[in-house]
């Protein structure tokens, strides 16, 4: 007997809807085994990750703060992935966006340049992210280079650039040699939505991005173009859509959103530039995008869920003495199951007996 994958005659709509939930269920089952192997009570451990974050106001606010960049980046990635363009380097675009916007904050530090500063920082973050994302896109279109590799490698370039800046030219002279810039002026900081919390105005921009992407994909000709190029390249050419130009467009959009998310992080919750400004939002957003079925509204829900694993991870460190890396393990397992379950949309699993040997008839 052997397990075989058989192509379905048509894609299963039921599985398409159930696949993310099935993936979450399988992740929970797997985590039960992992926790048991670590000598934890699985029920307690799962509760710390997936229930306690929902039980107090502080955690709920933190979920919103963490979900915001995840969702904003994932929405941009979804446009790319829908168009069959694989931007894996959102983390790097996030860093470059944060660097570019912070540059304005650092240069105007203490000068109070006026109300244009924050909008200019947001714009600079988005433009820099877009420009950085266009490097792998142009390499793909002009030279046929794999955008997956190029965008991924540029993440490390961006990380080293950030490191250099905060340790070198942009280091706060009054900062006791810590590798950070000076704390941003209030004119260079995002306003809070709830006084006394960390919930900042970036959330609104995220919701705007979700709405805009939903309209773009569902209602506009450009969104139609993205869907056609991604599903049927030959039909896209027949429709007169230019796949190369679309790679550039979707990379630019996703880079802009990642850069914006990076700037919002430093101008919002963090308040200055430092070497580690993101716990891998740009990579985790890939999981969020797929878990949300590359659909902006689905991404809003999956972003909140994945953000919860970050909060749960922090609490597990305290309550269970589990390392922070556990969060990455959970997210990795989740992505694994999301992609595996997605194959069930087009394929079914069958048991097939090995009876080829029995076919020797009279020769």
């Amino acid at each position: 007997m052997a397990l075989v994958l058989e192509r379905r005659s048509e894609r299963s709509v039921a599985i398409a809807l159930a696949s993310p939930l099935l993936a979450i269920a399988l992740t929970l089952v797997t985590m039960t085994v992992v926790f048991a192997a670590l000598g934890q009570n699985p029920a307690t451990a799962l509760a710390v990750y997936f229930i306690t974050p929902l039980t107090d106001g502080y955690s709920l606010q933190e979920i919103a703060v963490k979900a915001s960049p995840l969702v904003m980046i994932a929405v941009g990635l979804a446009l790319c992935y829908r168009a069959n363009a694989w931007n894996i380097g959102a983390e790097g675009q996030l860093l470059i966006g944060a660097i570019a916007g912070s540059g304005l904050a650092v240069m105007t530090h203490g000068a109070d340049p006026g109300p244009w500063l924050l909008p200019a920082m947001l714009l600079a973050g988005a433009l820099a992210g877009a420009a950085y994302a266009l490097i792998p896109a142009l390499c793909k279109v002009k030279f046929g280079a794999s955008e997956i590799l190029v965008s991924l490698m540029l993440v490390y370039v961006a990380g080293l650039l950030l490191d250099y800046l905060v340790r070198g030219p942009w280091r706060d002279p009054a900062g006791f040699n810590f590798p950070t810039t000076a704390e941003f002026d209030s004119a260079a900081t995002l306003p809070l939505l709830i006084a006394g919390s960390r919930v900042h105005a970036g959330l609104i921009l995220t919701l705007v991005a979700v709405a805009a992407a939903a309209i773009l994909l569902g209602r506009t000709l450009k969104g139609f173009e993205i869907r056609v190029v991604g599903t049927a390249p030959r039909a896209a050419r027949f429709a007169g859509f230019n796949a190369d130009r679309l790679v550039l467009t979707t990379f630019a959009i996703s880079g802009a959103l990642a850069g914006l998310a990076g700037l919002i992080e430093v101008a919002g919750p963090i308040g200055h530039l430092q070497p580690d400004i993101s716990p891998g939002y740009g990579f985790t957003a890939i999981i969020v995008a797929f878990l949300g079925r590359l659909n902006p509204l689905g991404i809003l829900a999956s972003g909140l869920f994945v953000a919860m694993t970050f909060i749960g991870g922090e609490q597990a460190q305290i309550a269970l003495k589990l390392p922070q890396d556990m969060t990455g393990v959970i997210q990795g397992i989740l992505l694994f199951y999301v992609l595996a379950c997605d194959s069930l949309i087009l394929y079914r699993i069958r048991w097939r007996s090995l009876q080829r040997k029995a076919l020797h008839g009279p020769l």
Binding site: T220, L221, F224, A232, A235, L359, G361
Partner: protein, 522 residues
Amino acid sequence: MAPPSDPGQTEPSPPLFLGRGLTKRFGSFTANDAIDLDLAGGEIHALLGENGAGKSTLVKLITGLLQPDDGQMMWRGAPVAFAGPAEARMRGIAAVSQHFALFDNLTVAENVALGLDARASVRKLSDELERVAQRYGLPLDPKREVWRLSVGERQRIEIVRALLQDPQLLILDEPTAVLTPAEADRLFEVLEQLRADGRALLYISHKLEEVRRLAGTATILRGGRVVGRCDPRLESTATLARMMVGSDVIAPKQSIHTIGEPRLSVTALTLPPDDPHGVTLRDITLQVRSGEIVGIAGVAGNGQDELFAALSGETVIDREEAIAIGGTAAGGLTINQRRELGAAFVPEQRLGHATVPTMSLSDNALLTGHGTGSLVRFGLVDRGATLALVDRVTETFDVRKAKRDPEAARLSGGNLQKFIVGREILREPGLLIVDQPSWGLDAGAAGAIRQALLDLSATGAAVLVISQDLDELIEIADRIAVMFHGRLSPPRPVSEIGRDQLGLLMGGSGWQTTEARDGAGA
């Protein structure tokens, strides 16, 4: 390799394979209708027929890829039924397809190992491979990667792979389609040797010269039926061509419309292919005028796809003036700019090219309609307008579907084609270019499509139909040209050109280089 049962024998022996009344239907379409076929050891048997005559279906029945709906197969005197290709292979039936199934990054030996049912070490296989290769003069280096090999060498791998199973019946499907003349000559020597070994060979081709040179027996298929059996060595290419395409009297189409000014002018179009396996278009000159239907006949793979892509704008052309649409030089224009000039296109592949299979019909209406008309306003898609367009196409062209706006893939081939053709005709094009309009459709749907094309031309549009179905072209076209090896013969009025003449041109005979070069439209 074990020697075949009776090595010395060259005289035809009693049939190895016997097919009686083999019938295969696909829905209402009968691909094979009560076909009888005898294949004997020591014999090269040719299977002749146009595209769509039923050759491939018959081969699939013999190799177990399809099961007959009716009829009986006998193998060495005993009735057999193959549940799958493995069973047919096990009994000694092997096939060499015209489409190679090879992994470019693996070596010759690894590729052969992958194709065999039994597991064997790659090294043992390499030895065996070299033995077979030497015996039949098929030189192959087992250690070379496939991507380094020429097309002829790749085919050799397929042949050797088949021979390793020591088949009693070897089926070759259009083996020379991809070969240079020198490679083909070498192949013929190998086939002759296999025949002398006492094996049965079934040779599928539409190249008449080859068949006359090689085969001792020929079965000719037309429209799914056996229309003739002969010894091709005793026939001329002309008589074979007539058997292949039929010899009915051509009834000229009643021409009620007036022919006007040219809507499409192609002038000395020469174009190397995008794809290394593609066909180079050579010096193509053609005019299609308002009110007429021009047909382009030819066997698949002679440049029709490349021509369609060049005319539609899916392939870029350097020379702006090589193509003119409605008097405007259009060689450098995109497909949408050509649509704005009044052109409309219907490609051969309905799913994946003409439509996105997983998208609704309204989305697919947008596919070719977004540049012209009023489906899009300020970048926003007017869903009401696209749905209304689907309704209009449905009503005008009688598209049958389960709901108002299903996915394209949910429609039957005929209804999908009515939708695709209807979608273009409702844009009221001045020029319509159609590739294989009724390919794979049942008679009813095919008739509806042809009528729609006739109606369109009667309104004054110019229509260019590329088709492998000669009957179809004769039925609807005013003038017919033939495509062969990337060249186009001068279009001739249907009333002046005979079927046998067309058949010869399609088979590659009767071509003068000057004819293709100097020929201008009408």
